[in-house]
């Protein structure tokens, strides 16, 4: 009698990353945050293209202009002309006099991705008398929507680059400190505590004063990142140090040593990768602080300078209570910051819950 053995196709086991992804997918709020961030960063990358105007495009007869939205006329979108009325920054739209809104139109020059010269814009009218100010104009008649987009490049990238820098530093220092323990650990941890004990805001401002006042905008950008990273690495180092201390007692570390692995390789290959689940979550939840750090510096006037755009710098102009009342569109950067920070927090919470195997 013949017996046949049925070969059952088995489900391949899920790797830790796939399992994590499955759990993350179930948390809708986190996904919303994630999608929002993808959208914001995509917009930031193509800011020059999406923005109808350059960030420094001044318009003498549009100071504090209210928002102008294209409207539907027949089947086309048109933009009306605006006229300045007598008095302080009062404007009137002339609905009969319109120009159509064009897509993929040539306009002011910019550099796509920072180095490709380009002048194609997503939308525009082509005529500066018919301005499409989606979020109004600021005190120099510059389109706030455009400046918001250019500013997002600065604010969003500072968050990410700052995190990469400070977390790399924190992981290395924490890993070394926790793995070797003893005197190394004591000295390093006391130094971290020293840095952490200084109130962040004062430290940021003092560090800013170390640098000369007249720096180019890219130098200022780099300086802000360096300052924020200098503050941020210490708390990450402490947590990684704690994790390294417990990880080094694990049998697989002894096994690695018994193979003759060197200390440095053990830290980099065995200890630090086992901290990644924490690091990813902590990074996501820390980015808002870096963004806000830059916002604070620029708001106080010691960060990004005019005519560059940054959300903090734009909010500086909105400080005046009279302006806030009369021209509320000046607060658009505040809304942008709010949405960004909220998105990072939602995503970070979701990541943390997905990584925590003890929760559902």
């Amino acid at each position: 009698m013949e017996t046949t053995i049925a070969i059952v196709k088995t489900q391949p086991a899920l790797s830790p990353w796939r399992l994590f992804w499955h759990r993350l997918r179930r948390r809708k709020i986190a996904l919303t945050g994630g999608v929002t961030l993808i959208f914001l960063y995509a917009v930031a990358i193509f800011a020059g293209f999406i923005a109808p105007y350059r960030y420094d495009q001044i318009s003498d007869n549009a100071f504090f202009h209210p928002p102008v939205w294209p409207r539907l006329q027949g089947f086309r979108l048109v933009v009306p002309r605006s006229e300045q009325m007598p008095g302080d920054f009062v404007y009137r739209q002339i609905s009969n006099d319109t120009r159509p809104l064009h897509f993929f139109i040539r306009g002011g020059k910019y550099k796509l991705l920072g180095f490709i010269p380009c002048s194609l814009h997503l939308f525009g009218t082509g005529d500066d008398n018919y301005s499409v100010y989606l979020f109004g104009a600021d005190q120099f008649g510059r389109d706030i929507f455009s400046r918001l987009l250019y500013g997002s490049q600065v604010s969003l990238s500072i968050g990410v680059v700052g995190i990469l820098l400070s977390f790399s530093l924190g992981m290395i220092v924490g890993g070394i400190s926790g793995y070797f323990s003893g005197w190394t650990d004591t000295v390093v941890m006391r130094f971290c505590e020293l840095i952490m004990s200084i109130p962040a805001l004062y430290l940021i401002i003092s560090l800013r004063n170390v640098f000369p006042p007249g720096m180019s905008s890219s130098q200022v950008y780099a300086m802000i990142i360096v300052i924020l990273s200098f503050i941020g690495w210490a708390s990450m180092a402490r947590v990684i140090r704690g994790m390294a201390l417990s990880l080094r007692e694990q049998p697989f570390i002894l096994a690695a040593r018994s193979l003759g692995q060197s200390h440095l390789k053990i830290i980099c290959r065995h200890i630090l990768p086992n901290t990644f689940s924490y690091v990813i979550v902590a990074a996501t939840l820390s980015v808002p602080y870096y963004i806000l750090g830059e916002v604070v510096l620029s708001f106080l006037g010691v960060g990004i300078q005019e005519p560059q755009a940054s959300w903090g710098l734009m909010l500086n102009a909105a400080q005046n209570t009279e302006y806030m009342q009369r021209f509320p569109w000046l607060l658009a950067p505040g809304a942008a910051i709010f949405v960004t920070v909220l998105a990072f927090n939602f995503l970070g919470d979701g990541l943390r819950d997905a990584a925590d195997t003890k929760s559902l």
Binding site: P16, Q250, L259, G260, S262
Partner: protein, 320 residues
């Protein structure tokens, strides 16, 4: 010259007044291709002795206060860290008790075996060599297994992977610290058979640490029985099992449950193993020994060769 010669090894935990002597004058040798079993209860110092061979015990809090460990004639206790790194894996490799915990959970096993290869035989750090090693340790379908994570494998498979990692560097001595304690009995038998076969094929010496006398019968050429940091009996395996000399060894063998014959109660050794620092005066087994005499607590007996190749630490070894 033997592959491994441990001479009068003395090791403390802690320093000065708080020092607790974990290893007290341990001496034994392992020749090339020989299998020696180190037997004893938990806490007798066997693991620490074995880890000392590659100086893996971290030196604070441990403190080597005497003796030598000669590996191929060179004293491990005096080696620089560079030399130590080359003997670890290169001359002596370890297999630990809990295979699941001894593998890094975030890397695939193929990757981990390659790490071992990169350290000692970098020209052979290829997938083909990894597959050859996995076949050597008896893992079926190795080509697909190299992509597995440790948690995707059963305990027996994980232990085989550990053995493959240990063998990757072609060591002369394999130290297996209770390699089968965490596995069930059938897998235990397979792993032991694997070790025997590897010993035959590769001519490797093995130091097998265990508290299971059944394993000793299968695997060992010679046996060292440890109690409270000292060797109390050192003898060829067959002789020891046929005719143990030290009262402790006799009691250990008597306490193994027998499948045949009548039995009302399991025979156990009364009392507990003395804790570090609380050793009784004189012979350390005296408080629990069935044939203890008053003079046993006066002076610590020496390890003496009483028959050819058989050493006992008991003056009354002749008693039945």
């Amino acid at each position: 010259m033997n592959l491994l010669e441990i001479k009068n090894l003395k090791m403390d935990f802690g320093t000065d007044a708080d020092a607790l002597r974990a290893v007290d004058g341990v001496s034994f040798n392992i020749g090339a291709g020989e299998t020696v079993c180190l037997v004893g209860e938990s806490g007798c110092g066997k693991t620490v002795t074995a880890l000392s061979i590659a100086r893996l015990v971290p030196t604070p809090p441990a403190n080597y206060v005497g003796g030598e460990i000669l590996l191929n004639g060179r004293d491990v206790l005096k080696m620089s860290s560079g030399e130590l790194r080359s003997i670890r894996g290169g001359v002596v490799s370890y297999v630990f008790q809990e295979p699941g915990a001894s593998l890094n959970p975030v890397f695939r096993i193929g990757n981990q075996i390659k790490e071992s290869l990169k350290l000692h035989r970098p020209e052979k750090a290829t997938n083909e060599e990894v597959i050859r090693l996995l076949k050597l340790v008896g893992i079926p379908a190795p080509e697909s297994r190299i992509k597995n994570y440790p948690f995707e494998m059963s305990g027996g498979m994980q232990q085989r992977v550990m053995i493959a990692m240990a063998l990757a560097s072609e060591p002369k001595l394999l130290v297996a610290d209770e390699p089968t304690t965490a596995l069930d009995v059938t897998i235990q038998a397979q792993i032991l058979e694997l070790l025997s076969e590897l010993k035959r094929r590769l001519g490797m010496a093995i130091l097998l640490i265990t508290h299971n006398l059944g394993i000793v019968g299968d695997m060992a050429d010679r046996v060292a029985v440890m109690y409270a940091g000292q060797i109390v009996e050192l003898s060829p395996a067959k002789e020891l099992l046929r005719r143990p000399l030290h009262p402790y060894t006799k009691a250990l063998m008597a306490s193994v449950p027998k499948l045949h014959g009548t039995a009302d109660r399991l025979s156990a050794i009364p009392g507990n193993v003395p804790r570090l620092g609380n050793f009784p005066p004189g012979c350390r087994f005296a408080p629990r020994c069935p044939i203890a005499k008053p003079e046993c607590s006066d002076k610590l007996p020496e390890l003496v060769e009483v028959e050819a190749g058989r050493f006992v630490r008991c003056p009354f070894w002749k008693s039945p």
